[in-house]
Symmetry: D2
Subunit: 347 residues, 4 copies
Amino acid sequence: MLALAKTKPGPGADLLRLEVPRIAPDELLVKVERASICGSDLPIYNWSAWAPTRLKLPTVFGHEFCGTVAETGPATRDFKKGDFISVESHIYCGLCAQCRNGQRHVCRDLRIIGIDTAGGFGEYARVPARCAWKHKDRSLAQVGSLLEPIGNAVYAALCEEVVGRSVLVLGCGPQGLFAISAAKAGGAKPVIAVEGAPFRMRLAKKMGADVVLSPADPDVLKKIERLTEGGADAVLEMSGAPAAVALGLKAVRSGGRLSAFGIPPRELSVDWANDVVFKGVRIMGIAGREVFKTWYTTDALLRSKALDPRPVVTHSFPLKRFKQGFAVMNAKAKNCGKVVFEIGAAR
Amino acid sequence: MLALAKTKPGPGADLLRLEVPRIAPDELLVKVERASICGSDLPIYNWSAWAPTRLKLPTVFGHEFCGTVAETGPATRDFKKGDFISVESHIYCGLCAQCRNGQRHVCRDLRIIGIDTAGGFGEYARVPARCAWKHKDRSLAQVGSLLEPIGNAVYAALCEEVVGRSVLVLGCGPQGLFAISAAKAGGAKPVIAVEGAPFRMRLAKKMGADVVLSPADPDVLKKIERLTEGGADAVLEMSGAPAAVALGLKAVRSGGRLSAFGIPPRELSVDWANDVVFKGVRIMGIAGREVFKTWYTTDALLRSKALDPRPVVTHSFPLKRFKQGFAVMNAKAKNCGKVVFEIGAAR
Amino acid sequence: MLALAKTKPGPGADLLRLEVPRIAPDELLVKVERASICGSDLPIYNWSAWAPTRLKLPTVFGHEFCGTVAETGPATRDFKKGDFISVESHIYCGLCAQCRNGQRHVCRDLRIIGIDTAGGFGEYARVPARCAWKHKDRSLAQVGSLLEPIGNAVYAALCEEVVGRSVLVLGCGPQGLFAISAAKAGGAKPVIAVEGAPFRMRLAKKMGADVVLSPADPDVLKKIERLTEGGADAVLEMSGAPAAVALGLKAVRSGGRLSAFGIPPRELSVDWANDVVFKGVRIMGIAGREVFKTWYTTDALLRSKALDPRPVVTHSFPLKRFKQGFAVMNAKAKNCGKVVFEIGAAR
Amino acid sequence: MLALAKTKPGPGADLLRLEVPRIAPDELLVKVERASICGSDLPIYNWSAWAPTRLKLPTVFGHEFCGTVAETGPATRDFKKGDFISVESHIYCGLCAQCRNGQRHVCRDLRIIGIDTAGGFGEYARVPARCAWKHKDRSLAQVGSLLEPIGNAVYAALCEEVVGRSVLVLGCGPQGLFAISAAKAGGAKPVIAVEGAPFRMRLAKKMGADVVLSPADPDVLKKIERLTEGGADAVLEMSGAPAAVALGLKAVRSGGRLSAFGIPPRELSVDWANDVVFKGVRIMGIAGREVFKTWYTTDALLRSKALDPRPVVTHSFPLKRFKQGFAVMNAKAKNCGKVVFEIGAAR
């Protein structure tokens, strides 16, 4: 099979011809149809940040993907050849205290597909059956690789109710864009987005933001406070930019909630007394998605079209043009939303 | 009347003879029986930290107190002369969105008695009737000034359920000591305390801590992880020491909760990616107490003796010996729990 | 002033000329602009069911109304002449354990305006200031009497999150119709309504129901189960018809929720073992609205137009044509939604 | 192996010599150490109520048991020969919407061990590995068959927080007795029990009830209201007696919670308007235990000795004296708590 692998330290990746993976008894072999590039695939491709210390080479990477079941291990239940599935990238053990208390996404023994194990940027991939989300039909086939990242956004936005509440989304990369839409679907009003790249500001509008502000605007905090009558009920920090975390902690109202999803590149300075304690806020770390609670909500929002992710998919390439895909994502101008690889889509 | 006032910048305070305050229509005049020193009274007395920029002098200070109603304003309901009351120090407006949504403790227009208005270190004090907690009888008279600080600890400990869960309490000043007891009353097991002062380590044991560790122990984190099988379900940060916040963020398990009550003296460095996002924790800012939800719980725990605060009251003085009271609290050795002024206790 | 009063036992009511009410210190005098007929006004008008044993005659009735403040008692805060307000009909004491724990709607000493005290079917009415919802502006003036009943529907629908979940609404009187719209605003999908009167079935569609079924359809349960893949995540019982309660308990999925709002005319037979215990359902009694949590949500949904109640207002009369208003409501055919009296609307 | 089976319609059961069960790939073979009689085993033994229509004969019954793993199916993970386990009797599919949303106890495809499949009243039993609770050690071996029924009580008592709240327990069979203790462990105060059998009234005291009342007392409701200042914050209906359900609905305070665990023998008459809607109560159907959330709490309470179930175990027999065990349970006088069969306990 054809697969995109990281074979040696340094920037880039190699398209290789490899053997189709052999599955364990509790695994599925998936014929990959579509896979998408996550922000966390960039350090792997660029060989920067955390990637060199975590990955063992060589390895196929990529963890947002969907496809059809090609083979089922003897210890699996409920799957058969031809089932269309999306993949939960968090391999949870299912046995630890967190897994057995509704918190599989922070399993004590968590491994991530495409980072700690072989991933989905290839024609075939193996996944534990417990990490497969079986679709009822093929109606979400076009966006099947996106359920995983949309799940992040849905969990970040809706981990507490937002109906009739004000929501501030910081950063309008794909996750922020999905989060805008998830907040709208949950009844939030107004939804305010902060983003600097013009291309993504336009996408934010398209995805339903009532107002889009630039982080460079010196009055951005004042404007948020005016639009929210004193502070946002919920802030969704989707960027990881230290300045955005700081803005979010100032912009959330006393007694409000901040969902922390973006990954800052380093430690942050936090005004713990004034921004956390005295304000009585709740800061919710968002690591992945609730498995499978969030998946049910995401599936329902996609099927009912309350959340339409298609405007976010700005680029789509065959796997062999992977360099273009990563170049688009790496470009400073950020003239992109999500980049999808079309690998083996059924007709 | 006799009252302890801050009359001029600089350390110390003055015991003055003042006129009995005149009340507004929605206020009560309280004949103060007991008042206690809060950690936040020290900057006022010492004229350090935030105090010089916030207080308007001269002013009577003190915000933990109880007493009997001596006079009722014409716009008050439900109170009569002789009622025994404890005081909620957060003057909430009752009209803003937070107040009308169950979050009076973070009222948009919050003022604190004894900081923003005249306080309770005197023979009489005026309080808005809506901030008075009317006792059914005098059975809690001895500890009447403590319901306010115990409320902080109860809210910090029990803002999420702890029955059968592991709880780590960082810092065993009066608030930490009360928090140990509140966690025990809520069914937590084990309750682990971290404190460096030997006097307070002994008090922590007395209040029910299953294990007391020193923050100077180089293996403190490892020991916590062993005792909690990988991390505490809930961490109560009651000290404000930056090292304690850092320890708490490491010691809370993935998917666990950290209550942030202690006030650090400056901004903190936080490993937001690893300690907040990836761990999927919930950080709860604890500003005061839920008004009056926490008061009902606190009252019930005190009446049932599930929480017995008396070991924490290590010193008690008449108001005229106020210098001794503050000296005990200011001492480096921390050989004290709570210091109470006996002012006009009924017999 | 002109007011509609119940003066003697028996059906009907009398339009009288009365003195403008005198207010207590904590009350407001309201110049009534609009008032609407609640289902519970019918037993009063018809002198049936619970009304004869509860009401003390003579009395003005009516409890859904809005208007402008004409006078403020000296013990009130935050109101001034000319403020536009809607009225919370539940007079809560503000002092009992329920009131002080976020459950004012079930105050231990609850009285209802227009039932236990004089009501709003008149040119002026007195209301405790604590029961007044002050509008920011007059943008909701046309629907100002409806916030109270819409609040019931919002609380019934959104007392637990519904985003991406299936909701079944039983009964499409005004409350059921509002509940359809509240569920949609909260992201529910699908929203299925059950109603027998053709006029109201059409209104249900207009308010956003995805499917409308007749209770007379022998396959109604099967159809609900098919549409919801085995049972509704949430059932909103808005009718009080014993058959609807029974249908709701069968149609809710195991582990789902049933909001009980409708008032049955008599005791019900419940299959407690199979429909409550074994299914592990949650039955939520809905008595009014959360004061003021629900009001904030309702206000936000109305202002953002996520909930547009206007199609439900099918009839509108001046107060002197009150007989027509009650005739419309009493008619068997149920060719109506909400009936509103235009009393003293400002221009 | 020796096992107690129901072989034909009619009262009684037969002790048979059977082949050791053969396990499926995802199952464990358990060498049973102890098993206990559940109230729901009586209809099976007596061949009454629902049993004749549900059971397929012949079958071994019994669903409360513990033991050591004797053999592991090839598709199981995390178990090895010799592990000491307790058994979750609800065989959940793990794949349906309820199972994947934290509600395995009400799985759409639920089967009960010992009712729908062969049970644990024998020397060996087969159980799906996903239904086994692996103990860390043998410290709970004496009470290992009780985790399942204690779990019911823990879930009924603690499905909402009870710290500092009043709890009323209706019926003091084993489940009610465990529930008293669970409520105490969670910080409830007071805990009031209602029971008619003198033997069980004494046990209720022993398990921690602050007050025990007789249902025959004509003032029972008044006494409860006085002890709880107007109504219990939480009612745990553990008996299934229609009169107890009725008492519970009257005795719960407005805005309070009723856990419905007991199984009435027939439909009930409920005053839905006054006892459910107007009071704004929450009725929680309790079907089994949350899998495995409740198990973690139960395990922690047993290990910390916050809940000591031993006084409830009043009788213990070898399996061959099963007739005595059932006779004790069937006796009118109710001079028993839990009856345990000692089957193959390790030394």
